[in-house]
Every structure is written in C-alpha cells, then in structure tokens.
C-alpha cells in the first residue's frame, strides 16, 4: 500500500503533476542549499583557522630562533642579516631561504614584522625581547584566504594585521658593534 502510494505519479484534476515528488524536489533544493552553505562555511572557517594555526607556529618558531641568535645591532633596528633570516625563518621555516615553499600559500617575507624591544633608556640599551608578527608595523598585511572565493560578501578571507604574533625573551649573545648604524655596518 505504501509503496503504491509513493509510486503514484499522475495528472490531477487541474492538469498538474500530483503526488509528492515535486515537494521532495523542493525539499531537496532548499535542504541541499542550506546544507551546502553550512558545510562550505564550516570548511571555510576550518581552513582559515588551520592557516592561522600554521602562521602561529611559523611566528613562534621564528621568534624563538631570533631570540637565540647573536644580536649585533646597538639599537632596536636589527641588522639586515638578522632581519632577512627571521623573515626566511617565518615564511620558509629555514633562515637561509634555501627552502622556497612558504608555510602558508602566498605568504612572503614582506608580510613578516620583526620587532626588537631593547631594555635600558636612550642610547644605553641591550636586547630585551624579540617579536615576530604577520602584518602590522612596516610589514604588508597578509590576507588569509578561504578555499572558496568571496561570494556576495560572504566571509571568504581574513586580513592579518599584526596577527598572529609571538614574543620571546632574548637569550642569545649580545655582540654590539658600535660602528654599526641603523643603515648597516
């Protein structure tokens, strides 16, 4: 009886397709639209969180590495050698830049903001903390893109403005070179 009922598909008295198949199609259309949106959004968020986590790991590794590297500048402006190495460490996980695959797609060394805080006052300073961040300061902000493109203003990207960030206390050798200026040695 039930099977017969489901299989029924005939023109009713007003000449339209009767039964429940149209309703099912509508349900499927609406339901799949909702479900697709929800799952796409979920995937989008999940993927962006994953990328944010990768960036967090990258800045932590780079900041910890920078904190142990010999610091030669007498000011809070690091030597160009150290800056380049920290940027490479962040983007490629390798201070020399031999590895050229960024940890997150499209991340470049221009997105890395490396800040050194000195302890002391005026020109009498020694290194205090090393901070690595994505974007912010003089660095180019980085946009974390979702896997799906931006569609009708639905969130598809997140711009990192100084985030993620990691700070480590300096724990290396301070080898000041008083003949160095901000522009180099």
């Amino acid at each position: 009886m039930k099977q017969n009922h489901l299989k029924q598909r005939h023109l009713n008295s007003r000449g339209r397709w009767g039964g429940r198949s149209g309703l099912a199609m509508m349900e499927f259309a609406i339901g799949s639209l909702v479900l697709t949106t929800v799952f796409a959004g979920t995937f989008q968020f999940g993927y962006m969180f994953y990328q944010y986590n990768l960036l967090e790991d990258a800045v932590v590794t780079a900041a910890h590495w920078a904190a142990q590297y010999t610091y030669v500048s007498t000011t809070s402006t690091p030597s160009s050698d150290l800056l380049t190495k920290v940027q490479n460490m962040t983007v490629y996980g390798d201070p020399t830049g031999t590895n050229t695959t960024p940890v997150v797609p499209n991340l470049t060394t221009a997105n890395v903001n490396f800040t050194v805080t000195m302890s002391g006052s005026g020109t009498q300073v020694v290194p205090g903390t090393m901070t690595v961040a994505i974007g912010g300061g003089s660095a180019t902000n980085f946009t974390i893109n979702g896997i799906f493109p931006n569609w009708h203003g639905i969130i598809a990207s997140f711009t990192a403005n100084g985030k993620p960030t990691a700070t480590y206390p300096f724990q290396g050798v301070f080898a000041p070179d008083p003949t160095c200026s901000a522009s180099g040695c």
């Binding site: 968020f45 999940g46 969180f49 986590n53 904190a67 009498q124 985030k163 993620p164 960030t165 003949t179």
Partner: protein, 414 residues
Amino acid sequence: MRIHRKKSERGFVLITMTASAIAVIAAVGLAVDMGHVYIVKNETQTFADAAALAGALKLDGTSTGISNAQSAVTAMTSNDKYNFATTAVISPTVYFTSSTAGAGAANACSGTWTTSPSTSSSINCVKVALSVTVPVYFIPVSMLSKSNAVVYGMVVNSQAVAAQVDLATLGTGLAPYSGIIDSPSATGPNFGLVVGDEYNIQWPAFNSTNNGCKQQTPDNCFNGTNGNGKNGTGLCQNESNDAEWAVVSNWSASNSGYWGTNSGSVLESYVLGGAQLQAVSVGTNLTPILSSGQKNAEAIYLDWKVNNDTDSIDNSWGAYNSRLTAKTANGSRLIDIPILDPTDPTQTTVSGYGQYLLESNASSSKGVLTPSNLYETFTGNQGWCAIYVGPLVIGGFNPGVGGSTGAAQVQLIQ
C-alpha cells in the same frame, strides 16, 4: 488508516530534522569552536614557553632572583596574548624547583615543584601553568559535560618548564679575559671566588726575581705600577696568594690572562662580541693561545660596555644588582669569561666560567654624566680589575644559578 500513517511520517520528519540539525551544528562546532580552541591552545602554549624562558633567565640563586623570575613571567602577559592575540593571560601560576647539580637537560628539574621555595640557592627551573576558558557557540547544542551541564566554555590548560642547563663548552660569547681559581682545589659554581669581591681579569706585569717575591708574599712579584688594585700594584683587592703565586710561577711574563686576538682591526669583535679564537671547554688548555694582548686598543671597548649601561656609575655589586632589579641598570657592564687554573708552564686548564662587573670612573654632577674611561687610563703593564658577580647564564643580563661549570643556558624542558 491513511491519516494515521501521515501523522507518523510527520513526526518522523521532525525527529530526523532535529537529529540531523544537531549533527550539522555539531559538525559546524567541531570546525569553528574547536578550531578556535586549538588556536587558543597554541597561543597560550606560546605564552607559557616564552614566560618560562623569561623566568628561568632571571634565576640567580637568590630570593631576589626568584621574585625577578615571577616579575618576568608577569611581564610576558602583555606580550603573548591569546584569543587571536587580544586577551592577556591573567595570573599564571609560577612554580620553582631544582635539578641535581651539574644536571643536563635529560634529568633537569627532578625536584618537587613549589610556588614559594624555602631555599633559593639551587633553584634552576621555572614552570608556568595557566588555564583559560574559551567560549564556544555551537558545541553547547550537542555536548554535555560529565555532570550533564551544558558546555558553554572549554577549559584550555597550558604549561611549560624551562631550566638553566649546565654548559661545559662555549663556542661564542666569552670575552678574551680570564679569572683565576681562588685555591688549587676550588670547584664550581664559584671556584672559591666571592660574589661582590674584586679580582683581576687581566694581570699586571710581574717578575719572579723581584725583591721579596715568594709564595708567602706574591704581591711583591708584581711590578708596582699603578693599576686599579691594591697597594698600587695593579693587583685587585681580593686576589688570593694562591692565585697570584699560580700566575707568577706558571705563566711567562708576557701572559696576562688575555687569550683573544692581538689584531687591532678585529679586536672589537673579540672584546665586545665574544668572537672567540676557539671554542672553550672545561678542561681545555688555554696556554697555547694566551698572549700579551693590546691593552690600549682593547680598553675603549670595555669602557664602551660600561658607558652603554644605564648605571655606569655604581662600583659595588650590591648597589648595581639592586638597580638591575629595578631595571635602572641594563647589564651591559657584565662580561662572561673563563676561570682558569694555571697548573704548570704548559697547562692552563679551564675550570669553568664566571660573570664579572666592569668597573667605572664615571661621575654625575648636576645631571651631567661624565662617561667612564677607567680602562683607557691604564698602561699595558697595569692590571685590570672587575667585580665577580657569579656564574653566567647566556643571554641573561644578570648572573645565573650555576652548576658545576659556572655556565648555563636556558632551555625548554617540556
């Protein structure tokens, strides 16, 4: 019959819709809420790591070191925040413990953890533990806690342990000067030296044929030129007879304890930057690289270190150390050097390492600071003195706790 079936189908749809909605929201929660929770975990772990390292760097074997470590952990809360770097960690718990003397990283921090240690002398480990609650928005729909309460927040715990781990070899960072162990049997961490006392880091000229030069009165062996030491001999106030006699009887007259390069063009990187002629290990024989040095050319760099300090005036360790704690001194005047045991004319063994405070003749009058030029005022034949402040920890602009070698570096243990 037919109506009855319709009713049951309607109910079924409601049940499936409810069940699937819960499942869908749970899936969304898994991605969004758990993604957020994992980011917070990552961020708070970064804070714990960095704060534990910052704390461990401050330990120096005193109760002041313990409170400096606590302050250093608190200071990191304004740097490494969580919740997308917006929220500062509040009141992390800081624990302390010790390791077996001379412990390597493998068996470090074997003691019992406590937040307020009763003795501070051997404390070389810091543990930072914290707990934050992350609000969740989708998970409450699908999850109950053990006590059947709805879960509106997930608790994220993070902890990290950092310790000062003994070093037996230093490849960089040592200034090319040296101290001498106080007595032949002296061992680490202090090698018989007294914190706050003044010792030679470079020795004045000596001659074993001088009048009265003998083991009981080794002061007489030194040539009596004016240094910043006792009796105008260029010997520093607290050098022991044992140390003086070891130098006179075992070193050639051209040796002064200096072991860097003599080349003026690169002196700076040796004196200021700790560029070493070779890696120095406990047990290394330094005699082959001991040399007379170029005191006149080296002096400006030592004076630079003094003048780069926000406290370039105090010459007592007690006064300077309290200014270090108050952050009105920045530690630029502290140098790390090996401590030697001259056993015979061919062997000068490295016993360990120590940290010294460079002296100053700077003065301040009516707010105008006259920089120090103390080391530049001495000639090549005069001795140089500095104040022994304790074992060293690499990167700490303060003394360390010290194991058997008198040198350590901070490491994450967990």
